[in-house]
């Protein structure tokens, strides 16, 4: 059993893991970079260890510093969260070599899936369909050009060592290919230290549907149903829901079986996610495997009524998966939607930074907020702009959408611009409500003109300017603002 758990991460995911660990009687250890010492997560663990100063590569991305923090704090297990070093076989191996528990899959499973070209070859061998594309033998421009002609334009250039859309670009015609390959190689080399790129056919109006899988060290591998992740901008998800409106029982069974086969083929252990593309003809293709806990895992927790982090920790401690999971005894209840609140411009998606002057989270029936921020938190440029995740659960899909919009309207965030208007526009759109949408949903949303502020908004602003003291005068100011208002009214 795990006694003291270090979470090698920050933000909402660190807070989320601490919560479950505490419920299990496991002591928690946070790590933080010096420039991030006031972050919420470092105050939510039993102890917090500094990773020192420097760029992210020398703090949250530094294996030696994470290992030193584990040693100094006496931790006997490491949970990597998502992002940062969560898919680093080097960290997984180093943790295990020191006799600590790694709350994740074996390093060999991570390596097999991290190399997208090798993963595609392995999936083909396991009988799992992959997106038509170039194979491992196509390395130079000439071979990739002829592969592109065979696949047919448009194609995507992707980094073999990549993920998260980094180094990815869309190519419409053969003439654009050499430039896109060069750019892709440059970004891939800089980001991953590996400049290999490959091509995938760009499927028209595809949906992105993923399956949660879970495996223990006793030979059990199961899937925990799907998550629909087609609402994306910049190839990154912003809204996820389960069940997927696109699947029926037969397709769900076929995709679930493929997901389990994919996980088994790399001898997977723990929580993982198999991502599929689903085309307009309802054919599905393996896209990639995320060998870690997924950002959107809470919607699975909501409909299945379970705690995935708890089972990550149980499996890392040697436990077998529950019998109900292994005997197809799990049945999702109701409908769940996750919305990711990002500090970014809702129109051009560019990240924003600043200080959260006001922060009031939504609450109420069927509402969960996983957040790494509070009032006063600073949103910097060095870290992921994800502020928090709002997860709603309701009896059915229409009720979940109404609950989502209700909860979004309760969210008060002042000081940093967020994508909330985009989330509302996506959920309100006829296309999303119909359930018949694909990864082009965000691009197809009608351009929204932000409405004029209401009378109440103008009056509130005027009252704020009228208050005498600077800063947060209108919030904490004198009970009678009129005494202070003269200067402004003159």
């Amino acid at each position: 059993m795990i006694r003291r758990l270090l979470v090698a991460n920050r933000g909402e995911i660190a807070v989320r893991v601490f919560r479950t660990a505490r419920e299990m009687g496991i002591e928690t250890v946070a790590v933080y970079a010096e420039d991030d010492a006031s972050a919420v997560h470092s105050g939510r663990a039993d102890r917090a260890v500094s990773l020192g100063a420097g760029p992210v590569s020398e703090t949250y991305l530094s294996i030696p510093r994470i290992l030193e923090a584990a040693r100094a704090s006496g931790a006997d297990a490491v949970h990597p969260g998502y992002g940062f070093l969560s898919e680093s076989p080097e960290l997984a191996r180093a943790v295990e070599e020191r006799g600590l528990s790694w709350v994740g899959p074996p390093p060999s499973s991570i390596e097999e899936m991290a190399d997208k070209l090798r993963a595609r070859a392995r999936m083909r061998a396991a009988g799992v369909p992959v997106v038509p594309g170039s194979d491992e033998n196509a390395r130079d421009d000439e071979a990739l050009s002829s592969a592109a002609k065979e696949i047919g334009f448009p194609v995507l250039v992707k980094a073999a060592a990549g993920g998260g859309g980094k180094g990815m670009s869309r190519v419409e015609a053969a003439s654009e290919l050499p430039g896109a390959l060069a750019e892709g190689r440059r970004i891939a080399a800089a980001a991953f230290g590996d400049d290999r790129v490959y091509l995938e056919k760009l499927l028209g109006r595809a949906r992105h549907v993923e399956f949660q899988i879970f495996a223990d060290r006793h030979g059990n591998t199961v899937h925990l149903f799907e998550r629909e992740c087609s609402v994306q901008r910049r190839h990154q998800k912003i809204v996820e829901e389960t069940p997927s409106p696109a699947l029926d029982a037969a397709l769900r069974r076929a995709m679930g079986e493929a997901a389990v086969a994919a996980a088994r083929s790399v001898e997977y252990v723990g929580a993982g996610t198999i991502e599929f593309l689903l085309d307009s003809e309802r054919r599905f293709y393996f896209l990639e495997m995320n060998t870690r806990l997924q950002v959107e895992h809470p919607i699975t927790e909501a409909t299945l009524g379970l705690d995935l982090v708890r089972w990550q920790l149980e499996v890392a401690g040697g436990a077998a998966l529950p019998v109900t999971w292994r005997s197809e005894g799990l049945a999702p209840r109701g409908h769940a939607i996750e919305m990711r609140l990002y500090a970014e411009d809702p129109v051009d998606f560019l990240p924003r930074s600043g200080s959260l002057e006001e922060w009031i989270e939504p609450a109420g029936p069927g509402v969960r907020v996983d957040s790494g921020f509070e009032r006063g938190s600073v949103v910097g440029v060095e870290y992921d702009p994800l502020l928090a995740k709002l997860v709603v659960h309701a009896a059915d899909r229409p009720a979940a959408i109404e609950r989502a919009l209700r909860a979004l309207s309760e969210w008060v965030v002042l000081g940093v611009e967020t994508n909330r208007p985009l989330l509302e526009a996506a959920l309100c759109s006829a296309e999303f409500r119909s359930g018949d949408y694909a990864t082009d949903l965000v691009a197809r949303l009608p351009r929204r003109e932000s409405g004029a502020p209401s009378d109440a908004a103008w009056i509130a602003a005027a009252l704020s300017f009228a208050a005498k003291a600077a800063g947060t005068a209108a919030v904490a100011g004198p009970a009678d603002p009129w005494g202070a208002a003269n200067g402004w009214r003159s």
């Binding site: 980094k166 992921d384 109440a456 908004a457 602003a461 208002a485």
Partner: protein
């Protein structure tokens, strides 16, 4: 009387006790405060939850499920919006977002063509190619690779060719 703006919208607002004039129209209101802080306004029998935070010349307002950034003074001229991809300001090329200069691909004095990548800006998990908006000569280039820049910082200036 004061002129307030929110994006393209503007109102002349005059506060009286218990009422406000918005572009000459009188609106009666009641403040609901908690611990001195304004939490709602009652207007015509309807309660509007509201939060407002002032930061210098800006007030951030959350009201009825929407969020606004309001300013005092004349409206921002159309076209001066900070939105958009790499913005231009005179001859300058502006950082569209806060980030870190990853790699500068041109030199001062260099003649470049419209569409050439001037530098790569990295913000959070993305790299953005900042491209020249027109042909010209690089006359200003103040940042070094690795520098942090704020949104709106002039990254480079490009003088039109032959001037």
């Amino acid at each position: 009387m004061s002129r307030l703006t929110a994006g393209d919208e503007a109102r002349d607002v005059r506060l009286e006790k218990g009422s406000a004039e918005l572009d000459g129209r009188t609106v009666r209101f009641r403040e609901i405060r908690r611990g001195g802080a304004l939490v709602a306004l009652e207007i015509g029998g309807e309660v509007h939850p509201v939060r407002a935070v002032r930061e210098g010349d800006r007030v951030f307002v959350a009201c009825d499920g929407s969020t606004y950034e309001m300013r005092r003074g004349p409206a921002i001229a159309p076209g001066a919006s900070r939105r958009g991809s790499a913005g231009e300001h005179g001859a300058g090329l502006l950082a569209p977002m806060p980030g870190r200069v990853r790699k500068t691909l041109v030199r001062r004095g260099e003649r470049i063509a419209k569409g050439d990548v001037v530098l790569i800006l990295e913000a959070m998990k993305m790299e953005h190619a900042i491209r020249a908006p027109r042909d010209g000569i690089v006359t200003k280039l103040d940042h070094h690779d690795g520098d942090l820049v704020e949104a709106g910082t002039v990254l480079a200036e490009i003088a039109a060719d032959g001037t």
